[in-house]
Each structure stands twice: as C-alpha cells, then as structure tokens.
C-alpha cells in the first residue's frame, strides 16, 4: 500500500486542495440559500404588488357637473336633499327599479350619495397610479395629471374600503364591491364542506379502521391519491357534465318548484368543489386517525366495545383536531379555486345576493379573475383589493388551523 502514499497530495498540497474544496462548498451553500431567498423575494414581490395596486392616486372627473343638479356643495348634501335630487333626475324606470331593490327612504345617506355619484354625475376615472408612485413621485403625478387631464381631480384613494366589502357588484369599478362574491364564496364552501366532510371522514374511517388488506382497498387508496392530483379544471368538466347538465332538474331546483334557474347554480358549483376537496379531506383524516395509538383501541375492545363504539367514542374524539385542521385546509383550497367555477358557469356579473342553493352566484376568485383581465387600470385596483380580502380570509382560516393544532396537540 505504501506505494500509493505519494499519489495523495500531502501536507501543503493537500491543504491547498482542501482550501479549494471549501471555497467551492461555500459558493454552493450560498447558491442553495439564494434559492430560498428567491422564493422569499417572489413572495414579497407578490404581496407588495397586490398592496401596491390597491391604493394610490386616481384622476377622475364628473361627466356632469354636480352643480347642474343642486346648488348645495356636494359634501354638504343631506339624505333629504339626495332623495329629492334622485327623484327629480333619475328616469322613472331606473327610479322604480331602485325602489324595488330597496326603498330609497330606507337607505343611508352614504348609499344615496353613492347612487348620486354613480347614476347622476357619473364619475369617470381617467387614470390610476400605484401606491409606490403615489408616495414617491407625487409631484410628477400632479404635473402629469394637470397636463393630461386638466378637468380632472386628483385624489389619493384606498380602493379597499368598508363599502367595498358591503356593496354588490357594479359595472363601474369605482362603485363595485365584493359583497355578492364573498357571500357566493361562503355558500359555495359551505355546500362543499357539508358534502365532503362527512363523506371524507367516513371514507377515512373505513380505510383506516375497517378495510381489509386486499386488492380493493389498495385500489381505493391509490385512486384517492390519484384524485388528489387531478387538475382542478377536470373536476370542473365533471361538474359541468354531471351536476349542471345531467342532474339539472335537481341542481336547478326545478324539481322543487324553483323555475327561474338553469343548472349553473351555487349548488352545482358547491358539489363540484366538494368532490374536488374530498381526496384532500380523506388523506388528512387518515393521517389524523393513524396518529391515534393502537393501545387506545385495544383498551376499548378490551372492555367489550364493538368496532364502531371504539371508533365513535375513542378514535374519532382523539382524531378530531387533526380532522378539523385538514378540513380547514380543504376550505382554504375551495375558497381559492377558480378554474372549476369558470367551467360550471359562475356568473360574471351578478348584483343580487345568493339566497339559496339554487341561486346563480359569483365567487371571490371569479371576480378577481374578471377584474384582472379587464384592460382598465381601475379594475386592476379593485382586483388587488379583492385579492387582499381573499388573502385575509385565507390567513384567518390558516391561523385558526394552526391554533387548533397547537391547542389540541397531544404527545402520546
């Protein structure tokens, strides 16, 4: 062996080569870390981009001068003034339509003022600027606005307002809100979970506690894992074919006497979403049930409990936090999914609150999609605001899930 001794670098030569190896190692370690930094950077950019779009200067003018309707300065108008102005200036058709939706007398001053701006003076947004620009280039923006839109007023605006949450959809970005969409999303998620939670937990119990180890069980398990990877738009196609079309009599409600609807209802969409999140719920519930130690089951069997008694009184209560956490993740998924809703036919413009499983609906992600793909920048601004609403909802849900997990976490 000693013949080889000279073929390894010795002493200083080895040290030198070691130094190179370490240098290479440092470079690579930095490269690995920078991959994570890029991910962080992307996340930051995304969040920044959204916030950046939801606030900023807008230049707008009125199509009609408010002075043509009333001598009173606009910011001093009372509810009574507004009622008179609206009654005098709206066409009787439009006025009656509004009265039918909700009696004008019963509306607040703010709502009437919005109507006044929307229907009579007709705000017209000329341009919007991002938050960063608005903060750091405000002088330039002023100059630019004064030059390009001499008649327009410049105002720093938050597109995300309390009204944005409470007003329904509108064809004008300035007056649009996400109320209908949020309610639609809630209906949708509610129906999905109502369907998927019992079925999913049932399937998980079956697979973990009852199923024999045979080919059928194997197929079911593989199948569930596969379903979890099927593209969401394929679920949309399934929903379109099965719920919207084949089962139209049921999902439109015509079998129950509701006639003014086709199969493109919140029920169809909710069921589609339920099928979509089902594998997710099953897999998570299985994990939760797996984590319950066998000693507990044996103890229950030992005192003469049947299998179901064991499951119901011992396994399920202990697996519950895990199952709930999994369900919350499923809800998050359902809340953000867009593609299947497009396919099963979410309405893109709807200003009536959903009032039952057979109503037409829109949902938060659908609105985001719609508004993002509009060319006008004011729609991008409300898309950004809607994204913030969606992200806050998701954040709340996930925080709940984490709290649940920590609260009930057991060390076996």
């Amino acid at each position: 062996m000693s013949t080889h001794t000279n073929t390894y670098p010795q002493g200083d030569a080895f040290n030198a080569s070691l130094k190179t190896r370490y240098r290479v190692a440092t470079i690579w370690q930095f490269a690995f870390l920078s991959a994570l930094l890029i991910a962080i950077l992307a996340l930051t950019a995304l969040l920044y981009n959204v916030v950046d779009g939801a606030f900023g200067y807008v230049a707008y003018d009125y199509k009609k001068d408010p002075a043509t309707f009333t001598p009173i300065p606009v910011n001093e108008l009372t509810k009574e003034d507004l009622l008179v102005i609206l009654k005098e200036n709206l066409s009787s058709g439009a006025y009656n339509k509004l009265e039918n939706e909700q009696k004008l007398e019963t509306r607040t001053q703010g709502e009437l003022y919005t109507l006044f701006l929307e229907r009579l003076v007709q705000i017209d947004t000329k341009a919007t600027w991002s938050m960063t620009d608005s903060l750091f280039r405000s002088a330039e923006i002023r100059a630019e606005a004064a030059e390009k839109y001499p008649d327009a007023q410049l105002e720093f605006r938050s597109w995300l307002t309390p009204q944005f949450l409470t007003t329904p959809m509108s064809s004008k970005a300035e007056f649009a809100g996400v109320r209908t969409a949020v309610l639609g999303s809630l209906w949708l998620v509610g129906i999905a979970i109502l369907f998927a939670l019992p079925v999913g937990v049932g399937a998980a119990i079956y697979l973990q506690e009852y199923a024999p180890k045979n080919w059928l069980t194997n197929i079911i398990q593989t199948n569930i894992n596969n379903l979890a990877g099927v593209p969401s738009i394929v679920y949309g196609m399934l929903g379109l074919a099965v719920f919207v079309r084949t089962m139209e009599a049921l999902t439109s409600g015509s079998a129950f006497g509701v006639t003014d609807s086709n199969g493109r209802t919140v029920l169809s969409a909710g069921l589609t979403m339920g099928i979509l999140v089902l594998p997710l719920i099953i897999i998570n519930a299985q994990e939760a049930i797996k984590a319950v130690p066998d000693s507990l089951r044996q103890a229950a069997f030992g005192v003469g409990a049947t299998r179901w008694q064991t499951v119901w009184y011992h396994v399920l209560p202990n697996a519950l936090p895990g199952i709930l956490t999994g369900s919350i993740l499923a809800i998050s998924r359902a809340l953000g999914e867009t593609a299947p809703l497009i396919v099963v036919g979410a309405s893109t413009f709807i200003s009536l609150d959903p009032n039952g499983p057979f109503s037409k609906f829109t949902a938060l992600p659908i609105q985001i999609y719609q508004w993002t793909t509009r060319p006008q920048s004011e729609f991008h601004a409300i898309a950004a605001s809607a994204i913030i609403v969606l992200l806050v909802l998701l954040l709340t849900l996930n925080a709940t899930a984490i709290l649940l997990r920590n609260r009930f976490q057991r060390k076996w």
Binding site: M1, S2, H4, T5, T7, Y8, P9, F14, N15, S17
Partner: protein, 257 residues
C-alpha cells in the same frame, strides 16, 4: 515523530451532550500499529469516545468536547484544526455496514477522488479490495451495486474504502456485531493483517473478540453520575488474566451486573 510510538493520546478528555457528561476525564495513549479494544457495558460511552477521535461528534449539535486529543503533537480539537482533514487521517468503520448506493468500484474510488488521488484508480481499487480480503469475491462484478453484496461483504467493502484513502488510524465501532460468525472471523483476520500498516481502535461487546484480536484493551464503566470513564487500560492479556480493578474482573468473566 518517528520515535513517537503513540498514534493518539488523550488528556483529560471529556465529552458532553448538552449538560450531560457522557465520557469523563479519559487519559490514554494508543500505540501505533497495534489494535486497541474498547470494552464496557452498554451506554458507558464507548461509541461516544470513539466518535470523538475523528470528530464525528461535530454533527451532534449538543455535543462538545473538553480536554485534549493529541495526534502527532496537535490537539485535534484546537481551533485551527480542520475536521475534514482529521477524518481523512482517521477513518471509521461503522456498526452497520453503510456502503454508498453506488457501484462497488465507485464506493472505493469516491473517497480517493474527493481527496485528490492522482494515481491509477483501477490499481487502488484492486489493492484496497485485496487488502480487505474482498477482491476474489467481487472482482467480476465491480460495476454492480454495493447493495447486492452480503452484509459481511458490505462491511469489508466499507473497510476497503477506508483503507483506500490511506488513513493513519482506523476506528471500528462494533464492526462485526451485525455479522455471522464466519464473517466475523474474516474481519478479525483482516484486522491482524491491517495492523502491519495501521493503528486500529475497535469497540466491541464480544469478550472473546477483544481477547483474541487486540493488543491493548481499555475498560470503560459509568460512575454514579452515569458518566463513562476508562477505569483500566493495559495490555489485553493483563486485562483478561490479572485485572487490577475488581469491576473489570467481574465484567470480563461475565459476572457483571
């Protein structure tokens, strides 16, 4: 350095996991080109001590070492010593064979390559395999996966790959405990041959093995704080025939516990 007969020396070496002291105040001199066995009951810190010799404990975040561990006049735990270089000079064979999921050939060539080996690789592979008494069994399937070998062959492959980087010292932590008696014997024979060129330190639970194969034996035992220490270190023959410490006598004669 030539007249220094000791491969490695420890002075008051203690090894701690967090607040727990696993090995306490070990001072021993390991002679060159000899086989030194470390014996003692389970949990007394044999592996911990052995892994301290080539700084494998660096990978346990809670572990830290006090005292001195001297190799050719350098403290292996002093700040300017490079752990990678330490491990290159002090190789290790583990309890369970752990070949890389590569071909037999690559298992040996890999270590040589990363350490800048410049000679003929085929030759090195052959010589290492011969030295590990494995060549005849694998010479026709060098490109096959090392996982296709038997446990005993895998362990000899691990010894071969350690030899290939030509360390000064080879540490072995119960290298035969996962093997059948025949493979165990082959490893013991192998150790006798390797002793011509290398210093070997071996941890073993097998008294006969220690008595048969080693020149020196260190007996470890835990004290009342569960910290392990070397209670007796001597020529193997002495340890097994005329131990000075009663506990050693009990242990080697099987009366322990």
């Amino acid at each position: 350095m030539e007249n220094n007969n000791y491969a490695i020396e420890t002075n008051d070496l203690s090894i701690h996991y967090g607040k727990f002291t696993a090995v306490k105040n070990v001072s021993m001199k390991v002679e060159r080109k000899k086989i030194t066995a470390i014996i003692g009951p389970s949990g007394c810190g044999k592996s911990t001590l052995l892994r301290a010799f080539n700084r494998m404990n660096d990978f346990v975040p809670s572990c830290h070492v006090t005292g001195e561990l001297m190799l050719q006049g350098q403290n292996l735990y002093s700040r300017d010593v490079d752990p990678v270089e330490v491990r290159r000079k002090i190789g290790m064979v583990f309890q369970k064979p752990n070949p890389f999921p590569k071909s037999i050939y690559e298992n040996i060539a890999w270590g040589a390559r990363i350490n800048g080996f410049k000679g003929k690789m085929d030759e090195l592979v052959e010589q290492s395999l011969r030295a590990a008494a494995l060549w005849d069994e694998v010479k026709d399937k060098l490109q096959q996966s090392a996982y296709a070998l038997s446990g005993g062959q895998q362990q000899r492959l691990c010894i071969a790959r350690t030899i290939a980087i030509q360390p000064e010292i080879i540490l072995m932590d119960e290298p035969a405990s996962a093997l059948d008696p025949i493979s165990t014997l082959r490893i013991e024979e192998l150790m006798q041959e390797l002793k011509q060129n290398y210093t070997i330190i071996i941890v073993t639970h097998n008294m006969q093995q220690a008595a048969r194969a080693s020149d020196y034996t260190a007996m470890m035992m835990i004290d009342d704080q569960r910290a392990g220490g070397v209670i007796e270190f001597d020529v193997t023959k002495t340890i097994f025939t005329r131990p000075k410490d009663k506990r050693t006598e009990d242990y080697v004669t099987g009366r322990f516990g």
